[in-house]
């Protein structure tokens, strides 16, 4: 209830927040801000997500069901868009990792905060956020694949696509990375890279710590539940008045522990749905930025190699080498331009996302604390109320 509300009024990284500088008429037939992954249907090992989006034309909604493979398909297609100049400079919206349900322990390690709780709600919301980001992205939203993904009744991604273009690349140039790490032609990118590096680590750590907090809260909730249940077992049907009084008390304590459990559960839920998602997104986005910066660095390395080659080239090959160098230069410049825009956009967006998360978190926690306090106040009254005799002086 709360989540949907929130999703509608303020999805993380909603296009309104993210919308870049360029105003392009969206080719998309759906409104990006309405895209939601409403639920995950589990069929054995297979998770199917229901994606709902509102048509731009007017009333009416698209309901499609997609598996993770479809999401992956979309992501790969985005990576390999060909008609976008400087595509390597784009910070691609990060797709959450695949949810492998056969190993719950691993799942948490893989997905972090998204795997908390008994439901897939956080995961769905993260996927929804991903789609919104893609749809809201001025360059990426133009692709036909997204339209297909969001509207086609047929699942698009069942055929294998060439995978992990950039991943392979990143492995190949691992060595270069270190060399080129310290020097950059552009100060902006150098500082950004350093900054990104520290933030990536820190945000990951924060997310992990926060995950631990949430998990502990969930454990407390469980422990409260067990305690409450055990107290119920203490209730014995007896005509003994002393026993009966005690039984009644056990029931009351059990109720209190039950409400305690609900409170902690709610707190944990609030944590996940607000700051949790925010931190998770932040940390995945930092990774995405890192990827982008790395790709740009690769371009730089390519350019440098090309320049070197051109310089050393024998006259016979000189022309060809110059051609390559020029192409590399152009490519690199395009990437850098896009990258600069993307970085600026990303910085704005992430601050907005974190603000949103923090404010929402704060508000929800206040709400929860208030309602719990009220409840306990009443329980306290009830406990004191029907008591026979005066209270023992404390």
């Amino acid at each position: 209830m709360m989540e949907e509300e929130e999703a509608e009024e303020s999805p993380p990284l909603s296009p309104s927040v993210i919308e870049g500088t360029e105003e392009v008429t969206p080719p998309l037939s759906v409104s990006p801000s309405t895209i939601r992954v409403t639920e995950a249907a589990q069929d054995g090992e297979l998770l199917t997500f229901i994606i709902v989006s509102q048509k731009l034309s007017g009333t009416g909604e698209y309901h499609v069901d997609r598996t993770y493979e479809d999401f992956d398909w979309l992501q790969q297609h985005l990576f390999s868009l060909e008609d976008v100049p400087g595509i390597q400079g784009i910070i691609f919206p990060p797709l959450p990792a695949r949810a492998q349900q056969n190993a719950p322990v691993k799942l948490v390690r893989q997905l972090g905060l998204l795997a908390t709780g008994e439901t897939w709600t956080p995961y769905c919301r993260a996927l929804g956020a991903y789609l919104q980001q893609v749809a809201g992205h001025s360059l990426l939203s133009r692709t036909q694949h997204l339209e297909t993904f969001l509207t086609s009744p047929e699942p698009p991604g069942r055929q294998k696509v060439k995978k992990g273009l950039f991943n392979r690349l990143s492995q190949a140039v691992e060595g270069i990375r270190k060399d080129s790490h310290t020097k950059d032609v552009d100060d902006f990118f150098r500082t950004e890279r350093e900054h990104n590096l520290s933030l990536t680590g820190l945000s990951r750590a924060a997310a992990e710590r926060f995950l631990e907090v949430v998990q502990t809260e969930q454990k407390i909730a469980v422990a409260c539940g067990h305690f409450a249940a055990s107290l119920q077992l203490c209730v014995e049907a007896g005509d003994d008045p002393g026993q009966e009084t005690f039984s009644k008390m056990c029931v009351k304590i059990s109720e209190i522990m039950e409400s305690m459990k609900k409170n902690v559960q709610k707190v944990a839920e609030n944590d996940v749905t607000t700051l949790g998602l925010g931190l998770d997104l932040e940390c995945r986005y930092q990774e995405a930025e890192k990827e982008m910066l790395f790709r740009r660095t690769c371009k730089l390395v390519e350019l440098e190699t090309a320049s070197r080659n051109a310089e050393r080239a024998k006259p016979l090959k000189k022309a060809a080498m110059d051609e390559i160098k020029k192409a590399a230069e152009k490519d690199f410049e395009q990437v850098s331009v896009v990258a600069k825009q993307e970085v600026a956009r990303f910085q704005r967006a992430r601050v907005a996302v974190l603000r949103q998360a923090l404010v929402r978190w704060c508000e929800l926690q206040i709400l929860t604390a208030t309602s719990s306090a009220e409840q306990w106040d009443q329980q306290l009254l009830a406990f004191r109320g029907p008591a026979r005799g005066p209270e023992p002086s404390s």
Partner: protein, 837 residues
């Protein structure tokens, strides 16, 4: 002040008393012999015959003076059984009186017979002797009075006792007789008739019949007269233990019931029963204390208040009275009860005293005013009580205790009386009308009284503070400041502080268990020794866990002491007072047995013993059987709950830890953040999280102290409860063994008779007498322990509910506060979050 004279009189003539006692026993022996030999008629089943008769006889004897009742027994006596009749009578009187006296004064008969206490021999002997003497005299007839006087060196004392035997019964009898007609002539006369009519009718049935007058009398009185409650009590004191001993316990009441008017059938049993359970029980319990008090080294005399010594003894009634008067104002039931009990003990101790006094004082009302109605008698009773309160401590406190219920117009408007005054009026009305509600109101009133007691116990406030490590290395120990705040007069000052080390606490527990556990009391256990925890402290590791350990233990010790002083009987223990007051305490030794695993093992052993014995013991009382099961079930549940809470506490601590980590993480994130607003917000958030860590920490300790510690306490307490069941079982076993022994002695006597060996016969007879006495006494012990256990368990359960309630309220309050604090934190943070641009 007859009592005071009494008190002083004993010492001068110890030896002659002993002889008297011997004489008395001789009488008893002879009687029993004759019973065994000739009166097989009366030997309904086995040994118990004698005791069967006993209960009845005291009453008959006490009845003697009252004409109406006296005559039927006379008839009895004139019948062929006359001879045996009178003798058992004598024996009966001797026994119950002796027992009552002995028990209340110092010790159960057992101790008297078996191991006379050196110091108190005199007292005991005197008191036991005198009654017996007078009893014999009374039994024989009124004439032997002279003899008695001649025998007892102090005339005064003797007279007192004579009075007792005669007058006490006189007065009570008189009262009942007088009241009855006045109040509801028809109703009361009926029972009287029955009682008078019955004995002759049932004479043929033998001993059972003898009991009836007594039982009936009780019944009648209980129903018909306002004094009834008091009457049964006093009679019960003599009557019940013995009657029960008879093994055929039910018969007396059963016999009574049938002849008695149908509508009254059930009430009669209950009031006396209740009374017996509660009041006499206390009496006995107290008397135990008295004994223990005496056994204390004489250093007590010098260092501890004399009151300690005097009060439990019951003898210094005057002091008691003073105490009582002062206490009464604050209305500490402890105080009143103590005085009631201790005093009751005293009263009984000086059997001559209270009863005699009663006689002396009440006659004014009773005898001078011929047409006494309930109100006057009640007034007399209450006045006697108030007198007791004011100064005439010899005043039969027993009586007072019992009569409290009936005091219609109590001069003093203190709380206890108020409650009780309200009850008597109801009970009086009900009595006169239908008497159906009597038992109910009665028990209700008892409950109320009990509750009051507990509330009033808060007059002693104990805190254990300032844990301090003393010494170095492995010889180091923790010392605690024990501060007491009290308004009780039994303490010298209102506030005092002593330093005690942990083993002192254990030592106190050992002393208390030794003294009180065998009587069925549930002695609150202290926290176990923890080698792990203490070693850490000793090594001087100043980490949080050792600090927590010390705090945990401090709190546990505080709760332990509070439980001890909340116990009305334990509070009276001189050791408790010594522990709280005395500057230097002799080093407790041998507490090693209580350390850690040893302690648990001990508990487990006790449990095993109980379960083994349960198999052997065919439980006569379903209540105990059920309770024991409940206790065991509760133990299991508490252990489980404890596990749950402990894990909850662990998680809370973990949360606190994780929150701290998160806070650090956020702080770092904030410091590397470029966006100034966001950076600021994040560092603010880190601070909020720091505060929350604190909050989680508090919640962890709240969970720990509200539930985990409480439950751990109760697991320990349940061990003590089981221990009390165990002690009851032991008492039972002892009684059974004695019975078996008696049976063997009888058989051997029969063999001797058959073999015609007169030389050994006397020895055999003596043995039988001895064992009969033991059986009687052990049964009394068992009954007493049983009722104590019962009362203690009820008290325990009440305390349990109260404790849990208090804790849960505290818990909720803490939780509430935590939430409010949270809201405050978030409220402060929200603007920061919103300020992010």
């Amino acid at each position: 002040m007859a009592t005071s004279s009494e008190r002083t009189s004993p010492p001068p003539f110890p030896d002659s008393e002993d002889q008297d006692l011997a004489e008395c026993e001789g009488v008893g022996d002879r009687v029993s012999d004759e019973d065994g030999d000739g009166d097989d008629l009366f030997l309904s089943a086995s040994g118990p015959t004698m005791s069967d008769m006993d209960p009845a006889l005291p009453t008959t004897i006490t009845n003697a003076p009252s004409e109406v009742l006296f005559e039927p027994p006379l008839d009895l006596m004139s019948s062929p059984i006359l001879e045996t009749e009178t003798k058992p009578a004598a024996a009966a009187v001797v026994k119950p009186l002796v027992e009552a006296v002995v028990e209340t004064v110092a010790e159960p008969v057992a101790e008297l017979v078996e191991e006379p206490l050196d110091e108190f021999d005199d007292l005991v002997d005197l008191s036991s002797d005198v009654p017996s003497v007078q009893a014999t005299s009374a039994a024989a007839a009124e004439s032997p009075l002279v003899e008695v006087e001649a025998e007892t060196p102090s005339e005064e004392a003797c007279e007192d006792f004579v009075d007792l035997s005669g007058s006490d019964s006189d007065s009570s009898q008189e009262e009942t007789l007088l009241e009855v007609p006045a109040d509801s002539a028809a109703a009361s006369s009926d029972p009287q008739d029955v009682s008078t009519a019955l004995p002759p009718g049932d004479v043929a049935t033998g001993s059972a019949a003898h009991e009836q007058p007594g039982a009936l009398l009780e019944v009648d009185i209980g129903q018909a007269s306002a004094n009834g409650e008091k009457q049964p009590l006093s009679e019960d004191l003599f009557f019940d233990p013995l009657a029960n001993l008879a093994d055929a316990g039910p018969p007396p009441t059963a016999a009574v019931k049938q002849p008695a008017p149908p509508p009254q059938q059930q009430q009669p049993q209950q009031p006396p029963l209740d009374l017996f359970e509660d009041d006499p029980n206390d009496l006995f319990g107290e008397s135990r204390h008295a004994k223990s008090a005496k056994q204390q080294p004489s250093s007590l005399f010098g260092e501890v208040d004399e009151d300690i010594f005097g009060e439990p003894l019951g003898a210094p009634a005057a002091k008691k009275a003073g105490n009582m008067a002062s206490r009464e104002q604050r209305e500490t039931t402890v105080g009143t009860k103590t005085s009631g009990l201790g005093g009751g003990g005293a009263g009984f101790g000086d059997v001559g005293g209270p009863l005699n006094n009663n006689y002396e004082k009440e006659p004014a009302d009773i005898f001078s005013e011929e047409a006494v109605t309930i109100a006057p008698t009640a007034a007399a009773a209450s006045s006697s009580r108030t007198n007791g309160v004011h100064g005439a401590a010899e005043e039969g406190d027993i009586f007072a205790e019992a009569t409290v219920e009936l005091s219609l117009d109590s001069p003093r408007a203190d709380r206890k009386k108020n409650t009780t005054a309200a009850k008597p009026s109801t009970s009086a009305t009900t009595l006169s009308s239908a008497a159906t509600d009597l038992s109910k109101t009665h028990s209700a009133s008892l409950e109320e009284l009990e509750e009051e007691e507990q509330e009033d116990n808060f007059d002693v406030n104990i805190s254990v503070t300032n844990p301090e490590k003393i010494g170095d290395g492995m010889n180091a120990y923790m010392a605690y400041k024990v501060s007491t705040q009290t308004t009780l007069a039994m303490f010298r000052t209102k506030t005092f502080t002593v330093r005690r080390r942990f083993s002192d606490f254990l030592g106190l527990y050992e002393k208390l268990t030794e003294k009180h556990a065998p009587n069925g009391f549930i002695v609150p256990p202290p926290p176990e020794k923890s080698i792990m925890g203490m070693t850490k402290v000793k090594v001087g590791k100043e980490d949080s866990s050792s600090g927590e350990f010390v705090e945990r233990r401090r709190a546990a010790l505080e709760r332990y002491l509070q439980r001890v002083v909340c116990h009305p009987s334990l509070l009276q223990d001189p050791d408790v007072r010594e522990f709280l007051e005395k500057e230097e305490l002799p080093r407790a030794v041998g507490t090693q047995a209580l350390s850690g695993a040893g302690f648990l093992k001990m508990l487990n052993k006790a449990t095993d013993a109980v379960s083994k014995m349960t198999i052997k013991m065919n439980e006569s009382d379903v209540w105990f059987e059920e309770k024991l099961q409940e206790v065991e079930a509760a133990d299991q549940q508490f252990r489980k709950l404890h596990g749950m809470v402990e894990s909850l506490v662990v998680h809370r601590k973990e949360l606190s830890l994780n929150t701290a980590c998160f806070s650090k993480s956020v702080a770092m994130l904030g410091s590397s953040e470029d966006n100034t607003a966001l950076s600021r917000a994040l560092s603010q958030l880190a601070e909020v999280e720091d505060k929350m860590e604190q909050l989680h920490q508090e919640q962890a300790s709240c969970d720990s102290f509200s539930f985990a510690e409480l439950i751990a306490d109760y697991i320990r307490l349940l061990g003590s409860v089981r221990g009390s069941f165990d002690h009851r079982m032991k008492a039972w076993q002892r009684w059974q063994d004695a019975q078996t022994m008696l049976q063997k002695k009888r058989e051997s006597e029969a063999k001797l008779l058959w073999a015609n060996k007169p030389d050994k016969l006397q020895q055999a007879k003596d043995d039988i007498a001895e064992w009969e006495a033991k059986v009687t006494q052990y049964e009394g012990d068992f009954d007493r322990v049983s009722s104590t256990v019962r009362k203690e368990v009820v008290r325990f359960e009440k305390e349990k509910v109260k404790n849990f309630k208090r804790q849960i309220i505290k818990y909720l309050e803490t939780q509430l506060k935590a939430q409010q604090q949270l809201i405050k934190y978030w409220d402060a943070f929200l603007p920061e979050a919103k300020a992010i641009a």
